[in-house]
Symmetry: C2
Subunit: 230 residues, 2 copies
DNA sequence: ACTCTGACTATTGGATCCAAGAGTCAGAGT
DNA sequence: ACTCTGACTCTTGGATCCAATAGTCAGAGT
């Protein structure tokens, strides 16, 4: 009996509405740095660019606003949200707290499939790093963490953490370009996965906590350097 | 020199867009239980009720969806989100974690104005309780907690916690009607405020943690009883 | 009697149109 | 020369209209 779980999974087709697609695309472009903090997003321009009317754009804006990526003022439009260094650090501390909770609950439930899946993503992550594929790296990075947290079966926490990750990812990407954080993260990911395999919660949690907080600190540091070049 | 801080505060007028107002109103009605989990929300009906077109309603839906209060399917419309008991407990645990962090950071920064403000809200809370004003109680309850957390100066965490509170408030309200949770909460609030006044972090955190987790447990218990009346 | 199909209806998704608010710039008045 | 005002423009907010899809129900064929 093959225990493949494809029994009834049907082919999951897109089934996405235009606003969702737009929101995703715009988020990607914001994370890429194509739209910089403070920059205004004009509905009509984007509508023309995506060859649709302004309406889907408007609904996409609502989603992005709820996610904290843009801020809108009545009759004044939307601008990309800025994030001061202290807020960034707050988000990293939040991540550290919440992701450690997730990992703690996940470790006892991890199957070898879970671990192998995470290992596979880690491989892809390495490849993305070698090819300097920053966009891909961002998505894969989250995918790796997500794989580790899924067995915790805490969907609400996971979705909140996902939101926070998206918010900070923008800055992480900038940081990645100019530092050695990449290799450091890769080493830490490996160590983390190993601790999970060993079911060594204590080590795993310590590693994860460090992994996130140090990333935050190095990011905040480089943010502050950049803001005071005088 | 009067240290009143009204120097430049101008009069903060509404400046709210229709979709925001609608989202607020609809959220309130969902929290009230007027719209029950699983119930479909029809754009046109709501548009007519609020005497506007469907468009503001649609944008309000996007906001509510992002807040997790409704779920929408393409071409099928929006239904009020249901919440299984286990997810409710997860949210309460999240609250306990995050709100304790907030309080921990807030206590050292609290001024006597902060404490007096909280005390004042506590009084209103009591009044709302005596008048059985459930709606008002919900808002004031959050206001009380918020007052305690504001000095932590962690806006992101605060806004996430706010979102979680809104999600569980719906069930809390139902629970309040049928149990003694009300008086219990009131007593716990008083004790909590006193510990804050004494700058006794240890006691305050323990109280807050209990306050939230016990509320969660009693809620989940009554949810399970209701779902298995057979 | 059962099932499959096709038309009909209810409701949402998207486009276009009009109104209203915010910013800008020129011109008049002091 | 400076400031205030008003018209003009750019952009968003909201309404209405048309297209597309899911659900339903009746009817024909087996």
């Amino acid at each position: 009996m093959k225990s493949e779980t494809h029994l009834k999974k049907a082919h999951r087709i897109k089934r996405q509405s235009l606003p969702e697609i737009l929101a995703e695309s715009l988020r990607e472009r914001i994370l890429n740095g194509e739209f910089k903090p403070g920059e205004a997003l004009i509905q009509e321009a984007l509508a023309e660019e995506y060859e649709c009317s302004r309406m889907p754009v408007r609904e996409a804006f609502r989603q992005l606003e709820a996610a904290g990526l843009i801020v809108t003022k009545v009759h004044k439009g939307a601008v990309v949200a800025a994030m001061p260094a202290e807020q960034a650090m707050e988000l990293f501390e939040l991540r550290a707290t919440l992701e450690c909770i997730l990992l703690e609950h996940a470790i006892p439930n991890m199957t070898s499939e879970d671990l192998d899946g995470a290992a596979r993503v880690l491989g892809e992550l390495d490849k993305a790093y070698l090819e300097r594929d920053i966009n891909g790296w961002g998505a894969l990075n989250w995918e790796f963490h997500r794989k580790l947290y899924l067995p915790a079966k805490r969907t609400q926490t996971l979705s909140i953490v996902h939101g926070i990750n998206l918010q900070v990812e923008r800055y992480i990407r900038l940081e990645l370009l100019i530092s050695k954080t990449f290799e450091k993260a890769q080493r830490e990911h490996s160590a983390l996965l190993k601790a999970c395999r060993d079911r060594d919660s204590e080590t795993a949690l310590k590693l994860l906590n460090q992994h996130i907080l140090e990333a935050g600190e190095s990011l905040v540091q480089s943010l502050e350097e950049k803001s005071k070049p005088s």
